[in-house]
Amino acid sequence: MISVRDLRVSFPVGRTVVPAVRGVDLDIAAGECVALVGESGSGKSVTARTLVGLTGPQATVATSHFEINGQDVRGYAERDWKRLRGSFAGLVLQDALVSLDPLRTVGAEITEVLRTHKVKGDPVSLLAAVHVPEPARRARQYPHQLSGGLRQRALIASAIAAGPPLLIADEPTTALDVTVQAQILDLLAERKATGETLLLISHDLAVVSRLADRVLVMKDGRVVESGPTSSLLAAPSHPYTQELVQAVPSAASRGRRLSSAGPALREPAALYSAPPASSAAPSAAPSAAPSVAAAAGGGEGFTSSVSAAARGGEGYASSVSAAARGGEGFALSASAAEREEGERATPSSSADSVVVRAEGLTKAYGRHTVVDGVDLTVRRGEIVGLVGESGSGKTTVAQLVFGLVAPTSGAVAFEGAPWTGLKERRRRSRRRRLQFIAQDPLSAFDPRWTVRRIVGEALPDGETAAPLLERVGLSADVLDRYPRQLSGGQRQRVAIARALAPRPSLIICDEPVSALDVSVQAQVLDLLADIRATDGTALLFISHDLGVVHHLADRVLVMRDGAVVESGPIDDVFHHPQHEYTRALLDAVPNLEVSQA
């Protein structure tokens, strides 16, 4: 159906030309599902868009052989591509909230395809075909009036309206909650079953493993490995693929390192100089100055949600180390224990190792209750995970514990003394014992300050930033850089260094890795695990990603609609979920067959 040889795409960035794709061979046969997998900047999205001639105005595309349906398309003009788009291939992008015109009804968007290609059909039956309930009413609605899942279905309906044999789905589930993601994947599987050809682009190996017949792993514009999905994931031969598979956090990965290199090493250079392509619209890429924040831009909310094969009910004893650590008793390292001796000055009862205790936390805005009676305890050196889908109230819990927002009712005690209900002035002396790491570190730094000043600000008097940076795996030459000059991973390390600097007893981490690529995420998660092990710092770890939480946390709280539906030691909750919502969540997580657990 499609056959490309030695595909090369480059974008002008400033005065230089940055190659995004450097020699990719791609064949897609009718009826198969091919997946392109890679991290941001790997060139996977650009490759996919080349197939419909949508690389953007400034791109230079070169190829030695490019056939679609047996036709040589190398000399195709815009007019010729226009005919192919929609009728030969439909394109589904990440988030339908921005991928459908927000000013037009869903029905109008679908009708537009039909009219453009002079195809008979009506939007209502197309919406029905992708299982949108009440299709007639939905067709009259605007994208913002639909839920994320319905929007994505509507987008798919518009892509298949003109009956194209090929459907290109570029990160089709990335912006969605895990339960919705599962439904969309089911829908795509259904399309595939009807004989439609599918090209799936994703950063998420687990999503891919569920659908694809064949996988191509891309890195820095090249395909480093390709083959049938099952054999490639079971026995990856290329080091990068191995690294990727290994980097996926899950129950099975508990207790082992996710990144292959030590923390001080390997910060992918690609991130820094990468063409700002990947799944962000490539048309935006050449126009703006190349944004260094390609990965952390927030456009790609990364959900590397994977759970182990172990969980599926087939004997989870494989994760021995995890089980061993599953309890709550966590041995503090000597150094941390010593420091604690020295810092008893802060109010805390020595008998109790509780760092934070929240009771009956409730937050309501007007009639709308965001957090409803949450109880939460974090002990010394413990990592407590807080999971939930968007809108579950987990971030509000973080703000309540941090003291940024006052609870409507309920109270928080920090290190044995009351924390909520105090005037900010009276909390100030204890503030440094409680730190915060946010999802987007860029906005968490004053843009005018260098790393030296950012970290130095947080350090006690007389200490310098360099040793601390070394601990988080950064060399001293980042000291005089500004935040925007750092890669996403480097920024999150600086954020961690800053949080560590005042030697807090608790760090609240709100989605600290969800903007990062899998391999960078692996390094940051390893770093967080190291810090807990050496310093005994407790973490309240908030994430939507069950795999990440299962990998890292000792205990977990599952939140839904502002309330905790289930809590307990991580393995108990994730392997024997009591609440039906927890079960639904876990079932929705796509599985990755990880062979070398």
């Binding site: 005919r83 788009r85 929609g86 394109l91 015109d101 000013l103 537009e112 395809v113 619209a281």
Partner: protein, 300 residues
């Protein structure tokens, strides 16, 4: 929407109050300020004191001023010996004609320029033109047009407001800077919209470039343009003062200018309150237009 109307009323009130304060701040006593260059007789003075309740406490004077303004009674010009509303009403038509035709011309010109100049060379030429138009004082544009089309070519009359021919040059003069700014805003809005993911989706459907531009991008570009409507009004009304001077047209601008030079405060205050009223009215209309264009702002 109710809230918007509420804020509009607050703005109006603030404007009226500011105007009133300006009257108080004028040098000399208030009676002198109201008389301006007009005839100063004891009879007139007593009339003024009676009309403005100057013998009553300041609060009463102020509330009475607001009360009268609310009823459209903007006082009386003692210089012109006529009620102010009559003075303004009589000169409204030529200014409205000028502002309206210039506004329409400017908007049409901007739409055409923004949509047609998408190619690199065309957009560069157009951008340069916009920069020049925006940076040129309107009276210079008027003077140049006059000297070329009236004095050199004799195509249009030099002054007056008789017939359509006399309207052409003033309207064009006023429309050009408007077109310059609007084109910039529209083009920027279109560029932004074209960078959005939904445009990729639209192109992926096989839509042509023109269709993408007109059906998708242009609507998004209209949003920031609509908010400029208040500014547009300022340019048109403020510009009218200058244009009417350059082209010797009668109108509100001339009335204002004369009132300022002859210190006829009632007329000046009335023009200020009137223009604030039109501004608030237009902005409320702009909010309505916003609701029509952007469904996200409507209550579901």
């Amino acid at each position: 929407m109710l809230r918007r109307i509420g804020t509009g009323l607050v703005v109006l009130w603030a404007a009226a109050t500011a105007a009133y304060l300006a009257l108080l701040a004028a040098p000399g006593d208030t009676v002198d300020a109201i008389i301006g260059d007009g005839a100063d007789t004891p009879l007139i003075r007593s009339q003024i004191i009676q009309e403005w309740h100057l013998d009553r406490p300041a609060v009463v004077q102020y509330l009475d001023f607001l009360w009268r303004a609310l009823h459209g009674d903007l006082g009386r010009s003692y210089l012109l010996q006529r009620p102010v509303s009559e003075v303004i009403g009589g000169q409204l038509a030529p200014t409205l004609t000028l502002a309206f035709s210039a506004g329409v011309l400017g908007i049409v010109l901007a739409l055409v320029l923004a949509v047609t100049t998408r190619r690199p060379w065309a957009r560069r030429a157009s951008s340069t033109l916009e920069l020049v138009l925006v940076s040129t004082p309107p009276f210079l544009i008027g003077i140049i047009l006059l000297s070329v089309f009236s004095f050199r070519l004799g195509l249009f009359p030099v002054s007056g407001d008789q017939g359509v021919a006399a309207l052409v040059l003033p309207a064009v003069t006023l429309a050009l800077p408007v077109a310059g700014v609007l084109t910039q805003v529209l083009r920027d809005g279109i560029d932004r919209a074209l960078d959005e993911p939904f445009v990729v989706t639209a192109r992926a459907r096989g839509l042509g470039e023109r269709a993408v531009l007109v059906r998708h991008a242009l609507r998004h570009a209209l949003l920031p343009t609509v908010t400029l409507i208040g500014w547009l009004f300022g340019i048109l009304l403020g510009g009218a003062v200058i244009i009417e001077t350059v082209f010797g047209r009668p109108g509100l601008g001339q009335v204002t200018l004369q009132a300022v030079t002859s210190e006829d405060m009632p007329v000046v205050l009335a023009v200020v309150v009137f223009s604030a009223f039109v501004y608030v009215l237009l902005n409320t209309l702009a909010d309505l237009a916003y609701l029509i264009i952007d469904p996200r702002l409507r209550r579901s």
